[in-house]
């Protein structure tokens, strides 16, 4: 086994190239706020600019083919890109873009050649940022029970309905969603998967006030919305995967959302919490010398290491095209539940300081305070922890001999 990429001279040369390129191309003033809800429009535009620059080289979504704006890079090269971006506290994509991360994967698997060209190229080049529109007020864990309707009318679909917990700060260019295309068909065979341009007439986007806006495992969105559709006319060309095939199209991005792509990131909050305990003195002694705090540090560290290793394992399975089963939802389950437990451990170790982002008293510029909130909010995006367990059970084949297959990623 090898838990690290062993770099060939070719890869080391790539690192040199990436490092030099990033030094030239990362815009000035990219420092991001502790709370993603504080991301200014100016900062966002700089991130988008970086996205376009990365995209122009095929580095924004580097594993996809060049003909659609990807980079044709294999996992060992992508890891170099991720590592080098990580030095700036950034990752791929550098802003919330569920279109590339999730929707793009679905279009790649299920789209026609013409759709791939028209939709994937602007996404992978960073020209479009897209949102996913999945949950509805009455369809959360039971996602296949969505009620938003799309009725065919000539070369268009007329869309009516409501989606919730949507998007991010500062808008997007394109949205993708699942809608009911045939209400008379059975469950899972009645849905369509539709790309909808952001600015069409009849779309209303209203911000929601949440404890904080949690991510689905990618970059934090900063803000969520309710989106209303009132007789919105969408070109029929935008239906991906064919009539009433939307659920199968969705299995691809749901697989990713359930952790199937893995991750190669550390928990930065834990790293900074540990550093904080070492460097913060109370009564002349480092917090880390207090036996109780020391035990809390161990607890947080062990959990973050387990999640890191599960993420690495799943990343490897997915990128080396090995058979996958329950690993994605397991990663999602452990990442979420451990994050909440870690937040509580931090609360114990640091005390009420962990609950304030006051400039004078809040540790780490409010990072720990924000984590107290984001760990709670983060339990549910991309499927509740209970749903992750349900999927694990089906994939393992608990109580059944036919095991459900993991969603197609390629």
């Amino acid at each position: 086994m090898d838990f690290e990429v062993t770099y060939t001279p070719e890869q080391e040369a790539f690192r040199t190239e990436v490092r030099a390129w990033l030094a030239m191309n990362i815009p000035e003033g990219l420092e991001q706020p502790v709370d993603p809800g504080d991301l200014t429009l100016e900062q966002y535009q700089k991130l988008r600019e970086l996205g376009r620059r990365l995209g122009s080289r095929g580095w924004l979504y580097p594993t996809y083919p060049k003909e659609y704006g990807g980079g044709d890079l294999n996992v060992d090269f992508v890891m170099i890109l991720e590592e080098e971006l990580d030095r700036y506290g950034l990752h791929l994509p550098p802003y919330y873009d569920s279109g590339g991360r999730l929707g793009g994967a679905s279009i790649f698997v299920w789209g026609t050649e013409e759709q791939k060209k028209q939709f994937l190229t602007p996404i992978f080049r960073g020209e479009w940022r897209t949102w996913q529109l999945l949950s509805e007020p009455n369809a959360g864990s039971d996602l296949a029970g969505v009620q938003t309707r799309a009725v065919r009318d000539g070369d268009s679909y007329i869309v009516n309905g409501q989606k919730i917990y949507i998007g991010s700060l500062h808008g997007c260019e394109m949205m993708w969603t699942i809608v009911v295309t045939d209400p008379d068909k059975p469950r899972h065979e009645n849905l369509g998967w539709l790309m909808i341009p952001y600015g069409l007439p009849g779309i209303e986007v209203r911000p929601m006030e949440l404890l904080t806006a949690g991510g689905e495992g990618g970059a934090s969105p900063g803000l969520k919305h309710t989106v209303f559709f009132d007789n919105v006319r969408v070109p029929a060309f935008n239906l991906v995967g064919g009539e009433n095939n939307g659920w199968r199209v969705a299995t691809t991005h749901l697989e990713l959302e359930h952790g199937g792509g893995g991750m190669i990131r550390r928990n930065r909050v834990v790293d900074q919490f540990l550093e904080y305990c070492i460097t913060t003195k109370r009564d002349g002694e480092s917090l880390s010398k207090d036996p109780d705090v020391r035990e809390d540090m161990v607890e947080a560290y062990i959990k973050s290491e387990i999640v890191r290793l599960m993420g690495l394992r799943t990343y490897w399975l997915s990128h080396a095209h090995k058979p996958r089963s329950y690993e994605g939802p397991q990663l999602s389950y452990c990442r979420k539940t451990y994050a909440l437990e870690i937040a509580e451990t931090i609360l114990r170790a640091v005390g009420p300081y962990a609950m304030t982002n006051d400039p004078d008293w809040g540790p780490l510029h409010g990072l720990l305070e924000h984590y107290q909130r984001s760990a709670v909010v983060g339990l549910h995006p991309g499927g509740t922890t209970d749903i992750q367990k349900v999927i694990m059970a089906r994939r393992i084949g608990i109580g059944r001999t036919t095991r459900e297959q993991a969603g197609r990623l390629r």
């Binding site: 090898d2 020391r294 062990i302 599960m310 090995k322 349900v390 694990m392």
Partner: protein, 378 residues
């Protein structure tokens, strides 16, 4: 990055699995579970013939000289049984301790015999004042001329009944520069006059009390050139042996997972397989989460050892996670199986017993969590 096994490791895994299938059916494992040695001479000879007792011993000393990960792949298979017997005590911990402490001549004599199974080592460190820190080693050895005399008790010694030799950590001088100085490793003939080995009764298995009454050990049987340097060698050996012990535990967890999934499909209550009930599913999800946490922390530590990287923090992490996970996996296995799980012939209790018996070996979770904090420099 490659988290798969190498071809050689796959072969080793398959060989081990088919050997165990043939030689270690469940009935045999159950029959041997609570015997003093946990093994028959015939089985032990067969394992020795496969070279498994020398898997980590360098070729120049008559072993196979394979990697830590290779050894772990083998021990994961043994753990799947779970197979009892002094394989880990002698072939891994004993061999590594001799490798770290012995003189060149001692290594040339002892290690080939360990590899062939002719000599079986049990490592005796702990005492009634139980613990794995050097200060817990209090048994005094007094030297007169060329002979040491040992008096005292070694307690919770694994596989002493199966051993030809006891590798005893003893105190030859009081702690001078820190508690680890003054500890000497002596190789004591298990049949020497004054040695009494008694299997401890109860739920533990192959764990013994070793009483030493005026036991005379020639100075030539001190491992190493000088006395008082034993702890460092023991510690170095333990840090390499621990992840292999963890792999054994991982193997056992894997079996508990497999039989629990199988049972969830075949056991019918309320007209359906019990695995259809989400409460039951939760137990199995809990098993696989603990299993994978143990597996990947263990194999990362092994990779670091094999790659010659600083591995201390990872080794402590692996043992802290794995010992705890093993308990939880077995607990959840019992939740799934209910009454059937405690029928001895079913086999689940073999794993549960091991999870408890091995929990403290080479330091429990709490001990390794403290060591982890130290290793991280906090």
């Amino acid at each position: 990055m490659d988290l798969g096994l190498t071809e050689a490791q796959e072969i080793l895994k398959t060989t081990a699995a088919s050997f165990l299938q043939q030689e270690y059916p469940k009935e045999t494992i159950i029959a041997l579970e609570s015997t003093p040695t946990g093994v028959t001479p015939e089985l032990f000879r067969k394992v020795a013939e496969l070279g498994w007792l020398g898997i980590l011993i360098p070729e120049e000393y008559g072993g196979e000289g394979r990697s830590y990960t290779d050894a772990a792949v083998l021990f994961e298979e043994l753990g799947r049984g779970p197979v009892a017997g002094p394989y880990f005590s002698s072939g891994i911990l004993g061999a590594l301790t001799v490798l770290h402490s012995g003189t060149e001549a001692q290594k040339r004599t002892i290690l080939p015999q360990v590899a062939s199974g002719e000599r079986v080592i049990s490592v005796a460190v702990t005492e009634p004042h139980y613990g794995w820190r050097p200060e817990t080693v209090q048994l005094r050895a007094s030297r007169q001329g060329d002979t040491y005399t040992l008096n005292g008790v070694k307690l919770f010694v694994h596989d002493a009944q199966a051993a030809t030799h006891l590798l005893c950590a003893v105190r030859t001088s009081p702690p001078n520069n820190g508690a680890s100085s003054g500890i000497t490793l002596l190789l004591v003939d298990a049949k020497a006059p004054g040695v009494t080995i008694r299997t401890l009764p109860g739920w533990m298995a192959q764990v013994d009390e070793v009483r030493l009454h005026n036991v005379r050990v020639p100075a030539a049987d001190v491992l190493g050139e000088t006395e008082g340097q034993g702890w460092e060698a023991l510690e170095a050996a333990a840090m390499q042996a621990i992840p292999i012990l963890c792999a054994y535990q991982v193997g056992s967890c894997q079996t508990v997972f497999d039989i629990s999934v199988a049972y969830s499909r075949t056991r019918v209550q309320f007209g359906q397989p019990i695995g259809r009930f989400q409460r039951v599913q939760d137990h199995i999800v809990n098993i696989v989460n603990n299993l994978d946490a143990a597996r990947w922390t263990t194999y990362e530590a092994l990779w670091k050892l094999d790659a010659g990287r600083p591995a201390a923090a990872s080794v402590h992490l692996a043992k802290a996670v794995t010992s705890e996970a093993y308990l939880k996996v077995c607990d959840s296995g019992h939740e799934v199986h209910a009454g059937v799980g405690v029928i001895r012939e079913y086999g689940l209790t073999l794993h549960t017993q091991r999870s408890r018996t091995l929990y403290h070996l080479l330091g429990d979770a709490r001990y390794h969590r403290r060591r982890l904090a130290d290793a991280m420099g906090w």
